[in-house]
Amino acid sequence: MQIEGIFSNTVELLGKSIDLRAKNQNLIASNVANAETPNFVPKSLDFEQELQGALKSRQSGQRHSSPPNARHIPIRGAGGGSAVKSVSGTVIETPAKTPGKDGNAVEIENEMGRMAENQIMFNASVQMLNKKFEGLRAAIRGTL
């Protein structure tokens, strides 16, 4: 019996999202730290397009073609798959439109905004992962 089957694709996706945002936090911290270094170009992690592509590639996946027992209620899955596991974002350069005269291209306001968004999405992912695990626990326990 495949025990991993009870953890749906969404759990994997959320785990991946948490991982990618943690990496993004490292890059953003590096940008903020180098806000005054000459000739520094800020970088960030781009993963949203990749994630969308990975999700769509297995959109039509269905877990069981026919229920094992005629009295089982057929349930269809939500799509996505092991393509999500291999998503690792690409590091892109995001220089400011008007670099300073020492060549530094970091816009501190952008970086702070990105850091706040990253943190919020990270917290949201963790909370949803918690909710998923809680739901599984409620199902296993039978009552709350």
């Binding site: 949203e48 349930i75 939500a78 799509g79 909710k131 739901g135 709350l144």
Partner: protein, 100 residues
């Protein structure tokens, strides 16, 4: 002269379609259908919330509040269904305990 019943005149018949047929057959079938409908509805809500989580994580859908509400709906409807199941089981056991 055709005298039609009150129901057909006011349109009550359409609002409450004939349900006697269902209760005429065994109630076990009705309950079974009720449960399978409930399960499939709850599953639909779960799938919907999964899809919205996927949308949020991949950046397609920026509405955090919508996703949070759907996740909460899914969780509550699942708990509701499991409580309904518990109560039904309890009722069945109560009935079985009855002395003949």
């Amino acid at each position: 002269m055709v005298i039609s019943g009150i129901e057909s005149g006011i349109g009550m018949a359409k609002a409450f379609p004939e349900t006697n047929k269902v209760s005429a057959s065994s109630t076990a079938d009705g309950a079974g259908k009720f449960f399978s409908e409930l399960v499939s509805k709850v599953n639909d809500i779960q799938v919907q919330s999964d899809k919205s989580i996927q949308g949020l994580a991949s950046g397609e859908n920026k509405n955090l509040h919508e996703v949070m509400i759907e996740v909460e709906k899914a969780s509550i409807s699942f708990q509701f269904m499991s409580q309904v199941r518990n109560k039904a089981l309890e009722a069945y056991q109560e009935v079985m305990r009855m002395q003949v």
